[in-house]
Symmetry: D2
Subunit: 300 residues, 4 copies
């Protein structure tokens, strides 16, 4: 149970499939190798963008193993392991650690929304943290789960020595501030979206797990660098530039658009699993325009 420094930028890597929707571990490896040309702190495997909810247990293990294999020394591997039951979450967490994950990102259970009280959710995370051999990062993603964990919940979870941080994907900078005020010293907040990376840093976040970092790693890293250097004007300008393209590959058109953008820029994207549909030609054109306007360049 060791502390891990989460400062910096992590792409939540999409899971690669062939045209029959079968897993392609070699494309995961290939993408990681390409992205490691940038100064990224590490990768998240099996996040929302990794279509975690679409994969079998065996596929999850294979994806983590593929990532581990491709990852050079000095980069971190985070794996998404949240399930609807405590039992499943613990099993996935142990399997991820066995495949070499350095830490796990645990999405909260959310199906039985009305029963997910403060007490139920805090106990769930403490149980998982007790059972995990690697550090646990809390993952709040209200846009997908329909359940927004409160700062009081996060602060209570942070009391466990094995819970080292949170990813906040709701963009709630007030919650980030409240967590940082009240949680134990050293508790690390990560932005869960590139649209609010700079405001999150300004509130005390140490970095981000950002879909956009799969296609614009240098821009995401540059925002952090400008912020640290106190060059707020440059940071703001770049932050603003990234908002439309980031919205396109997240809330607006989602994983299929992120994968399409990766294909377009020279990485492997490939199809998403159904019911996620491929982009229409019209959307594909709009996406290409947004990429062009944002100044993102192709991988060489």
């Amino acid at each position: 149970m060791s502390y891990i420094n989460l400062s910096g930028i992590f792409p939540p890597l999409p899971t690669s499939f062939d045209k029959y929707e079968n897993l392609l571990p070699e494309k995961i490896r290939q993408n990681i190798t390409r992205l490691c040309e940038y100064d990224l702190t590490g990768f998240l495997i099996l996040g929302s963008n990794g279509e975690q909810v679409m994969l079998t247990d065996r596929e999850k293990s294979e994806a983590i193993a593929a990532a581990r294999e491709a990852l050079p020394d000095g980069r971190l591997l985070l794996a998404g392991t949240g399930g609807q039951s405590t039992r499943e979450t613990i099993a996935l967490t142990k399997a991820a650690a066995a495949e070499g994950a350095d830490a796990v990102l645990v999405l909260n259970p959310f199906y039985f929304k009305s029963l997910m009280t403060n007490e139920a959710l805090v106990k769930h995370y403490l149980d998982v943290a007790d059972a995990s051999t690697v550090p646990v990062i809390v993952y709040n993603m209200p846009g997908n789960t329909g359940l927004d964990m409160t700062s009081a919940m996060i602060i209570a979870m942070a009391s466990h020595p094995n819970i080292i941080g949170m990813k906040e994907s709701g963009g709630n900078v007030v919650k980030m501030g409240e967590v940082l005020l009240r949680a134990k010293p050293g508790f690390q907040v990560l932005a869960g979206g590139a649209g609010f990376l700079l405001p999150a840093l300004s509130t005390g976040a140490v970095g981000g797990i950002l879909a956009l970092a799969n296609i614009a790693p240098s821009q995401c890293l540059q925002i952090v660098r400008s912020f640290k250097e106190g060059d707020m004007i440059s940071a703001m300008r770049l932050q603003h530039m990234m908002i439309p393209v980031n919205a396109a590959v997240t809330a607006r058109w989602g994983v299929p658009a992120l994968k399409e953008a990766m294909d377009y820029l020279g990485l492997y994207g490939g199809p998403a699993r159904r019911p996620l549909l491929p982009l229409t030609d019209d959307v594909r054109r709009q996406l290409a325009e947004l990429i062009a306007e944002s100044g993102i360049e192709k991988f060489n």
Copy 2:
């Protein structure tokens, strides 16, 4: 691919666990045998109350097999098979049919909410219906999924010959009416909650899949009977009486309360899987009072 008459009442059976949260197939069989003393049309295995989202694939198959074994001739077995991907949903559907399910109840994918357009969801259901050897029932459960399928979606799905009906758990009687007006003749609507059974029948529903039917089968059946006999006063009175206890074992305290009520009344309830917590003593007392006030009697 044959038509199935869904008229009447189906309990969505909870899945039985021991105190270590391990599956107890014999308790599933036992509960079914006891409930078959009532004139129920059949059972749903692996609905929301069956904690479907908490079970492994193997456990799902075992639970269906146990139910099939216990079920006497002339009763229907429905099985919940909705997953987040089309691929998984088809696999679960085939497995359920192989274990003897007469039809499948398919909850919609909902994790990628913003991408679950009319087009994506209709295609998903048509793909599943194409692949299924047994009839498909559409399952709308906005309280848990955070996504409310529209009547337009349901009507489009109903065009498939293998999609024979829907379970509406949102209590939206306007939607039921619109579906019945526009969907193919013979499309069957089932109420998804006992709190609105009578209004649903008055709108044209043929019956219900009702958590309450696990603990108050005779009352649920009596509401249908009174309605059919045109005795609206009796039907209304009984409907009103059932509302508070039904709320207690559904929206308010959920599956743990339903299981507690089953234990209390002489069936097997047992624990729910974490993060669902056992009831506090205070809630347990309130539940017992609500049961008493409702006139529900113990199984003998």
Copy 3:
């Protein structure tokens, strides 16, 4: 402070404006006179469809006075008087009673949503009921207010002798049932939308305040009649037929569509006040088709 029997159907009359958006009291009178050819129990002036939130205090009084003038003996006049403060609500209530309203329909305050606790809202209604010389009807309209009053709130309000009923516009038939089970005997529930009139009656509602009754009074009345005669098949068929056109003049295209339909059918509709926009030509055509399909006939 006398009891009033609310059984039957009330149109919530739109407020008539000329093309400069000025009030036209004579058109209010004219519409009432025409609609009184039907066996309607009475009218609601200044409901949501009456654009109550768009009117000055003086205009509100003029509209009520015009309605009173046109109303023949034996018909009831309800007036909407809900404001954001208790003080304003009481002032509007007194003014409405002075202009001849038989009862007031009081929408809840909702701007300070997070502060509208059970305690605050119940006290508000009791204060208004204390101050009112005419009976008070509670008005729940979550689609517009963004605040859904609970059955517990309504039941507490019903304890006041001067609070005689509620209009439920959220379509929540479970809430209606719970209120009827727990509120004082004689507390009257009115459906707030024609899309769920029959299910509401089946739950014990005594009638409805229905936008659709402005354009299809005979159909609304016929649903009630068939229900009372026990002819559920006819009632259901007519209920289903009314759903699409009702949606068109309420949730979908709102007040401008209701007014357009009135113009189309031979009553006075006229424009709504901005920011409500006139229908586009395309929507106007669709509306005419929906009216035709529904079997609603022109006033002669």
Copy 4:
């Protein structure tokens, strides 16, 4: 129609009432005089915290006049003038300008939510801006209105020369960034809550209209100053410190708590209008503790 520089901090002054809920213009003047000891850019009269929705037209004019009277040269007076109709909003805007408001803050109409399309809302604001002799600031307050204006709407409104900025009270820093990227140069964004002041500044906001500035003007000003000096560590620390007390006087306990805090600190708070209830003794104690922990000092 002249440009106004909105940089800096504005308290949205509560409207003072006596114990009978009658307006107290002298207390408005007194509070302004006291707060003018701080380097505030100006004041907002008749915002949400000013209980604008609770006031008659006459009271609104009196409140603005009182503020104008007390305001020294060089400070700006903003007045809230949003109503549900375009007509009313224009009338209130003209009245506010006549009483001396330097600009108006216009909350969007929201009662007919489903009809408040992009087209309807943009036209509303353009109509108001056309009619106004003073600059218009768009006010987005989804927590109270239940309607969240999109960046696309705001950007379209910003095309009008008389629409000079927006107040964003939803805390959506992504929206702020998108507006700043796409709206005309010089369009000014103001934070609508002190909980996200620093993140808003980091995104390009020029200041804020902050309930907290009524009780902690020096802290709000200090956050802006530290940010401008590039001292992010001090700014962050102070930002975090302000979050709990700010939540207490806004989302959690609202206007009554803000008024109580003003009384406690030596300004005039007084009662809110019903249905807003006075704080309980327990909440009053908690509020005093939160104030103490935050380091806010009494006015002398």
